[in-house]
């Protein structure tokens, strides 16, 4: 069925109003005010799907708005002190010295969501057209096979794929350059990386699943500006990850927990690890009586330099975490994402094309920064101790080692039930909110119209009830942070069948990444759906 779709034309269309996309848009308008720029954002408002710690390096903000400190984003606290701990189930051991990358002096603790909303206003003041509530669902190609824009998703399709009374076809947006800034594991970026084989010369990407809760605590418990990083319990030696606690102003604290998605234990539940962490004796009495303002989860790229695909293709480029620009030892990717956007804007303003952007990026200070730390994350493949020794060595040598350690695809790292011996995790009985994943999902204020097609496409559900059940005990039912996947009794055929509670989804993309058979594909639901994070 073909139908007439409205077409809108721009010089540049940017997919995703996160830090990378907005930095690109702002810089483009600053350099070249006549360039027409459209930004599509699947969240109902700018920042509503953004989650990050986050202590940020202010470099790119200084570049975009030299006087930004006079009118800072709504949540913005100077980092006053860093602390670094190794945790066992009972104890926390504070490091006398912090790793140099963890020195946050001069950095700011922000809410990425609030900062994106703030950046969005600044972009609109520069006449960038931002459209929240509209998801780009597919790339459009011209006769030569180059990307010529994107198609916006249709609205008003029922769960069986039929048009409802209010059906509104999505429009086509044509642009001279399409910039993908979807963040980690973007659905369009994934399609285009595959289509143009942009990852043929790089390592597989490796990811983590990050959780965040923003707490409002009783007076006097928070030390504004304090940043605490922890690793160790409740994660075992072979599971990469850790936590960060950011003390904000007004008795607020944000707590972040990341689990590397290259974990091996098929029965691991990352959400449980996060909730366990809050019950460490170190936090005794800290959270009690407090209230969670908002909670969310999002996958992050950890692969770094060697997992970065080629950033350009005919008609389009990628910026930020769509390509994966996290500096792992710093635990920061916002400044690199924004820098890549600023670079992309500068490149387009000079060349009126994306051609040559990849080379320009490789020559940039951001690429050098990522190259210097490239061996830190893969060093943890053989356990925490080896990882720390390697990280120390890489730090001392400044990344000048002649080798590059390889990353491996996360979905292939999961071990089968029959061969995996789980460690003693020393879990404790939990008392703090949220009780379970559904209680947490409620704090994400997620909304999806139930009468729309399921946006988590499982290619073959018979694998779920047969092979996967036997080999891995359906890990999707555990790695999903909000319980989208459930195995329920199959009343017709007996046994178990997969039930997808798609309306719970917080768009974290973990299922698309970690599913061991790679049969789950995340596609954007109706625009405006998904979580409504508040100051995450």
């Amino acid at each position: 069925m073909t139908e007439e779709r409205d077409v809108m034309e721009y010089d540049v269309v940017i997919v995703g109003a996160g830090p990378a996309g907005l930095a690109t848009a702002i810089k483009l308008k600053q350099l070249s005010p006549d360039t027409s720029v459209c930004v599509l954002e699947k969240a109902s408002m700018v920042g509503a799907h953004s989650v990050a710690g986050a202590a940020i390096e202010p470099g790119p903000l200084d570049e975009l708005f030299p006087d930004w400190r006079d009118n800072p984003p709504p949540v913005c606290v100077d980092v006053s002190k860093d602390e670094f701990f190794f945790m066992t189930a009972k104890r926390s051991i504070k490091f006398p010295l912090n790793p140099p990358q963890m020195n946050n002096h001069g950095n700011y603790i922000v809410s990425l969501g609030a900062m994106c909303a703030w950046l969005g206003e600044k972009a609109e003041a520069l006449e960038v057209e931002i459209y929240p509530g509209f998801a780009a669902v597919e790339a459009l190609f011209d006769d030569q096979g180059a990307v010529m824009g994107v198609r916006v998703g249709d609205m008003g399709i029922d769960k069986d794929g039929k048009q409802k009374s209010g059906y509104t076809p999505g429009i086509d947006i044509h642009a001279k350059l399409t910039i993908l800034s979807e963040g980690c594991r973007g659905s369009l970026s994934k399609q285009l990386i595959k289509h143009f084989e942009l990852d043929s010369a790089c390592d597989p990407q490796t990811y983590g699943i990050g959780f965040k809760e923003l707490w409002q605590l009783p007076q006097g418990r928070v030390t504004p500006g304090l940043v605490q990083h922890m690793f160790g319990w409740p994660l075992d030696n072979m599971t990469y990850g850790g936590a960060s606690v950011y003390h904000l102003d007004n008795d607020r604290v944000s707590i972040v927990f990341v689990v590397g998605l290259d974990y091996q234990d098929p029965n691991l539940m990352p959400f449980e690890c996060f909730q366990q962490f809050k019950h460490h004796p170190m936090f005794e009495g800290f959270f009690e009586g407090g209230e969670i303002v908002s909670a969310g989860a999002r996958a992050i790229n950890e692969g770094g330099f060697q997992s970065m695909p080629k950033l350009e293709m005919p008609g389009a480029i990628m910026v930020g975490d769509a390509a994966g620009m996290l500096n792992m030892p710093k635990l920061k990717g916002i400044h690199t994402a924004m820098n890549s956007g600023i670079l992309a804007a500068t490149h387009y303003a000079e060349n009126k094309s994306g051609e040559g952007y990849h080379q320009a990026f490789l020559a940039s200070s951001t690429a050098k920064e990522l190259h210097a730390v490239r061996n830190v994350r893969p060093g943890f493949r053989h356990g925490m101790l080896m990882g720390l020794i390697n990280a120390g060595f890489e730090t001392v040598t400044g990344g000048r080692t002649p080798w590059t350690l390889a990353n491996h695809a996360d979905h292939s790292e999961l071990q089968k039930l029959a061969s995996y011996v789980p460690p003693n995790r020393e879990y404790v009985e939990r008392t703090l909110a949220p009780r379970d994943r559904l209680a947490s999902q409620y704090l994400a204020a997620t909304e999806h119209d139930e009468d729309q097609p399921v946006h988590l496409k499982v290619a073959d559900t018979t694998i779920c009830s047969t092979q996967c059940l036997e080999e891995y005990n359906n890990p999707c039912t555990r790695f999903c942070p909000v319980g989208v996947y459930e195995m329920v009794e199959d009343e017709e055929q007996g046994g178990l069948r997969l039930q997808i509670n798609a309306s719970n989804c917080v768009h974290c993309k973990t299922c698309d990444i970690k599913d061991p058979y790679q049969i789950i594909t995340w596609v954007p639901p109706e625009g405006g759906s998904g979580p409504n994070y508040q100051n995450l």
Binding site: M8, A48, A117, E129, G166, T168, I171, V293, Q534, N535
Partner: protein, 248 residues
Amino acid sequence: MKILVPVKRVVDYNVRIQVKSDNSGVNLDGVKMSVNPFDEIAVEEALRIKERGEAEEVIAVTIGDSAAQEQLRTVLAMGCDRAILVEAPSDLEPLAVAKTLKALVEKEDAQLVIAGKQAIDDDSGQVAQMLAALLSCAQATFASKIELAGDSAKVTREVDAGLETIEVDLPAVVSADLRLNEPRYVKLPDIMKAKRKPIDTLSLAELGVDGTNQLTVSNWSAPSAREPGIKVEDVAGLVGKLKEKGLL
């Protein structure tokens, strides 16, 4: 014929409301704001009437601070012809809102006002009735169907016993209930066009309305949390618990 539709900027219905720790109000920091859903239904109905050729112009009005322009842009994108922002404190009471709307109805010579039956933030549900009284005109509240015929309107109302159909003479005030219609999706090109549609800004003084509140809010508090449930082992345990609570 002109239709006037009042719309209110409210906390989005998906947001979990949190009371500020000093009990002085609701926390609006970083919270998503939307058009009151019942007002969106009212806008949709007004647009459908216009699209049937039974009205010439649909005017949206909001009363609040300048941030409420965002909601006016949304309804302009849905299809309203123009919008009016009356600058006022956003906690204006229903009577002052009704007086403001009365002044606007007279200024614009609107024959029909379609309002949401209530706003989902304060749930007052009083403005439509007060406005009709102030205008000394007909009212048809909780409408689930509106049919216009010349100088009158046949309105089906959602009442406790079922549906009630009444006929009112125009001008009239109608309040929209949930089942009146399903609002349309806003199209991306229409959002762009809405940016160019006019928004007039007026003050309460220009309309001759005294915005002083008559009521003082002394305290805000969240409903008390429900005690967690317990699981009993067996029937005897259940009976025991019920007896313990004095329920048996």
